[in-house]
Symmetry: C2
Subunit: 426 residues, 2 copies
Amino acid sequence: MALYEDIYHTFRENIKQGVYSPGERLPSIRETAEKFNCNKITVQKAFERLKNEGLIDNQVGRGSFVCFPDTPAGQQHVGFPFHSAYICDDLFPADQAFELFDQMFREEGHLFDTGPMEGDSELVEALSSRYKVDHERTIIISGAQQGLNLCRTLYNLNISEHMLFEDPTYSGAISIFRPKHFVELEPDGPDLNRLKQLMKGKARFFYTIPQVHNPTGISYSKGKMDEIARLAEEHNVFIIEDDYLSEFADHPGERFIDRIPHRTIYIKSLSKVTAPGIRLGFMTVPGAMYQDFIRGKFSADLGTSLLMQRFFVRFISSGLLDRHLQKCRTLLGSRKKTIESVIGKYPFLRIPAQQSGYNIWIESSIPLPGEHVPWAKGEHFSFSSRWTDSFRLSLLGMGDRDFQNGASYLDSLFQSCSRNSSRPVL
Amino acid sequence: MALYEDIYHTFRENIKQGVYSPGERLPSIRETAEKFNCNKITVQKAFERLKNEGLIDNQVGRGSFVCFPDTPAGQQHVGFPFHSAYICDDLFPADQAFELFDQMFREEGHLFDTGPMEGDSELVEALSSRYKVDHERTIIISGAQQGLNLCRTLYNLNISEHMLFEDPTYSGAISIFRPKHFVELEPDGPDLNRLKQLMKGKARFFYTIPQVHNPTGISYSKGKMDEIARLAEEHNVFIIEDDYLSEFADHPGERFIDRIPHRTIYIKSLSKVTAPGIRLGFMTVPGAMYQDFIRGKFSADLGTSLLMQRFFVRFISSGLLDRHLQKCRTLLGSRKKTIESVIGKYPFLRIPAQQSGYNIWIESSIPLPGEHVPWAKGEHFSFSSRWTDSFRLSLLGMGDRDFQNGASYLDSLFQSCSRNSSRPVL
């Protein structure tokens, strides 16, 4: 076996066995060449092969780092998925949910039929009453993402002059709408001057997450909500209000759907606070748009699984949803403290503004590793350079043991960032 | 109470109590005026009110007919739903399906998690092997309609110059694509001269249902399949092959995905042959388009319910799917004979060409009632006048008793059409 293959196999085994863990820096090429008593070209060749196989990655001037296993959207997460804003399904009360399914199978018929296009009437009723929206304008959808996609399709909002976004904003919205026009977010909501200026132009829709914003965790102030509602009326702009996580707001939230229901498309995820596999959400839309959305939903998938809808009726009425949310809130509180105390140890890290929810938005004053990090990087949420050194840590994507190990891992990662940044760049 | 109100209430009660049933003609205005001993204006006023309430409808020169209750897409069907191409969920083995769910709940974990974006690997494997397609290019979708919608969105195929359709074609495709360019269907496939001419132009996609076509029930001949595949290659056209119902073909079918896989987007419904509430399907796409569709699926709904996917793995492996299909085939054969013998009694009705599947496509040589009929009218499948007097009867949308009553009802309806058409128009 050629020497470079020997080096390759040694590192490969060490990575597989966790001697070097994801995100960790490998010994430098120079150090490795010394250790194996060979020239640097040989080591380079071995590292090249590790890189080609996706095991490590280089950062110019910083060395080689062990890759996190690829986690394209929707794939099973491995490692410490602080990047995933989904609740880990370990935290979902699956056994009790299965019991509800069993009850349902015993007590109900026609579960494999199609339901009404707007959704099962009992579910529409239960959600409208729970979330205080008008049931006559409410439509069940297969997750909030579908609601966004319906807006895109129905009103042609792809790369559109007519659409405004927060900066930063939800990455799923970026992938759907491919936005061009942004309004910078301040700690209490968007920059109003900029918003006003853009609303005077061609804007017809403003996509916003006014409560427990993703990724920043802020909530709009009452004053800004009022002013935005007024501007929307004045300039004939519709609000796409993404209620991503109001269940985890610290205070009962301010909503556009309450202020200007005739120009608010309210979209509520139900998967985000329960389990990603639920694939349910709902939207409440202006009366004049209701038939558009019913037709759009029909075109998109002929309706959402009635079985899952009927299950969710029971999930709410049995009180299981409320108990699950309460459990998550408690867990969230304790995990937040754990992470805040890790962050507090590193002066180059800062948690800006008032945040709620299960994500923590963090700013760094030193450059962080660019690739294969366990968090969601600022650039996923923005095209502007302002957020390059910010990142989002999500707190509910792991079971308890993984979370504890993950927190220690973050600690050691920040420690190494700190050490690296204080060394002169060679 | 004014006399017109009296007349209104009498008819209203008679309709509600079934004295006049849906599709039935009411006594004429003249007859009614004579019976109530009033002038025709009074009767007209009563009929106007019945019409405003959606209870009756007028057909110019033919009189007033009792409306079928509205059945917007996806809503619960009432009456005799010969228009519904979905298998009635009475025919679905729900109890055995529930047992599979129970087994699954006992034996599997992570059912509420997200799966891979392309779908659960076991399901992809099982479907690829069953339907003989390449698993590496196969993606699970939330029903065939979603597959069509992804094509529309990804390649901008709404009201597009680049898209060809059969005439007639699936109404759901018409609602998604809003087609402009059609190729007339002959008993063995499309008019090849016309297809060639259009393929030479701007066409880049041809949407086709070559086996057990919807609505006509025909299948393309081997000769036409070969020639179309050749033309597609020559003119760089992609085939969107909708495998709607090949499970019910009389013979193993001819497919584009086998001939020209690198230019075929194959879409398979799984709801159509099982139960509408299943909301599953899959598509196998050219390798070069695979990542487009994965991204499109992500944008559309972040993935299909893992719970339903894992259920379907068991639905196949337990043999339940095969037993269900066999039961449907038997039922279909017997129902087809029943309907054919009804149709055979009326010389003005004709079942054209070789048809398979659970729809019967019928031509009438006399005009049939225009509104509120229990079948799907030709104009739902075509913009051309050629199919105005054709209609589709679906055979699996009802339980046994409803079907038998429905067949008698059809018989009496055709009898009355026959009588009406032989009378001179007054």
